[in-house]
Symmetry: C2
Subunit: 315 residues, 2 copies
């Protein structure tokens, strides 16, 4: 497997990416080749200082330019052809890398994923999930968490399919229970979107629908995959992130459960429903987050995740 890693993305670039790579190389047995995309003059001495030899397993792909956080995505991708993100998508599109990871400009990553890698045929709109820690120690996912603010029922139905595949292939949860985030337990509850989505999920024989899930049940083990529109999902995601901040503020950040809300444990967000693996990192990604994004990419490549999504939508 060849994994492309943008060295120039994230608030602490390139040092946290290098440190994350070092963590990955030291601890992981199933080691892929990592193509470090970034400014060679900056990256080389850092790799050396962490005793990372550039050989077959680690190579540097020089990128002259960087897309900044506040640059308009489409324009930046078009004009900065020598930026690390532009180069990463070119390598991914041409098959020189099997997955691309960046903690850089989120908009540019999304535009690249949608227009350079493109949505799987039949997918109305790609989606991004977040992992949800459960009180019983398990892990579920919630999607969409921000790519699609306004959704149609058919989209939520597709999120259910993509989420189930993610649960099966990446989280090792076969026959994942799918829940609809809603304001009550009974069928017929909710806003217009939920009322129209419920029957679609109920009739969808490709998923294991288990009914409505209320806000209070998110951290319980009632469902493995919870679907919602990207507006609600984004509010929930950010509120969940703040739970970790609150716990930290109360000096409880090392509590076993609260610690699982820390973004570094998950690394980044995969874009589901596009033709190749793309993982978008948090701007504040640290070494552990970068390491986990590399492992996540390996898992998506190794399980042939994108092919499985394609199969779901052509069956």
């Amino acid at each position: 497997m060849n994994i492309g890693l943008d060295m120039m993305g994230g608030d602490y670039a390139p040092s946290e990416a290098v440190k994350g790579l070092a963590l990955y190389l030291n601890n992981n047995s199933n080691q892929s080749s990592v193509l470090c995309i970034g400014n060679e003059a900056e990256v080389t001495p850092l790799l050396e200082s962490y005793d990372i030899a550039t050989d077959k397993r680690v190579t540097i792909i020089h990128a002259e330019d960087v897309i900044g956080y506040n640059e308009p995505p489409t324009k930046a991708l078009k004009e900065k052809t020598q930026s690390s993100i532009s180069i990463g998508f070119k390598l991914l599109a041409s098959g020189q890398i099997d997955a691309f990871i960046s903690a850089g400009n989120t908009g540019a990553m999304m535009v690249g994923a949608m227009y350079s890698i493109k949505a799987v045929e039949g997918v109305l709109r790609p989606t991004i999930p977040t992992l949800v820690p459960k009180l019983n120690g398990g892990t579920g996912i919630l999607l969409d968490v921000g790519l699609n603010s306004d959704c149609k029922p058919e989209q939520l139905n597709q999120f259910a399919l993509m989420g189930s595949e993610y649960a099966k292939n990446i989280l090792d949860i076969p026959n994942a229970r799918v829940g609809l985030l809603n304001v009550g337990e009974e069928e017929g509850k909710g806003n217009i979107l939920c009322q129209a989505t419920y029957p679609l999920l109920k009739e969808n024989t490709q998923i294991n629908f288990c009914g409505n899930i209320e806000g209070r049940d998110l951290f319980k083990d009632n469902a493995d995959v919870v679907v919602c529109d990207g507006f609600t999902g984004n509010v929930v995601l950010k509120m969940a992130e703040s739970i970790y901040e609150i716990a930290a503020f109360r000096q409880m950040e090392n509590d076993e459960f609260f610690h699982r809300f820390h973004y570094e444990n998950y690394g980044g967000t995969p874009v589901l429903g596009i033709n190749k693996p793309v993982i978008i990192g948090h701007g504040i990604s640290n070494d552990k987050a970068f390491k986990n994004m590399i492992i996540q990419a390996e898992s998506m490549i190794g399980s042939d995740f994108c092919e499985k999504i394609k199969r779901v939508f052509t069956s």
Copy 2:
């Protein structure tokens, strides 16, 4: 002030209502008259056992019947004319009580509030808020939290007005900062509803609009009143309630901050935008919750809250 208290509502009726009344009578200096609406044969011995004398300040209004939790609200209100909730609304409508509190059938309480007490003229739809504890010790409100699953921009604009009045009169926050719950900070972010609501709030000279509030900022002190549609608000409310449950599960329920998520501290939910004070309690209300609902009712009566809402909508 005359406060009507439904003794028959809540999972532990009538004992928690009686215990709550005892707490209220023992601790509060500004003491109103409380009309205890319920089955006299059940309530009388309980009042006696808590040394509550029936006199001018505490009287029993006999109610032969009770509306159960699972009864269809409209039908039950119409047919069970001798139920405690039906009698409560009759007393409130006729002015014999100045506020009505019940932890009984929520649907029946809503139907009574909307059809017996009615919305203030000019109010598109009444709304229910929840209190939001802030990390810095302050308290804000979020509304709507479930009465209006699908909202129009004009409704959110009205929630902002009603929420500001509540903050001013009940929480003692003059010139409350109003935020719009959204998925990004900048104007133009969000779903169709938020994009259409932002300019209305910005141009509304009756409120102090401070922009968008993200999920992660809810517990920070960036806004006093946060408005959203009732679907998102209900998911947020229930997720916040689960934070207390999680803290309890981690044996942190007595932590100063987490404890503030416990419903008993707030008592109940007022219905905003109707002509008289109605407070709906949680089904699991305990004595402290009942005490706090009585105090909340006093505060709404004392500040002439409903009159102020009427003035806002006629100005």
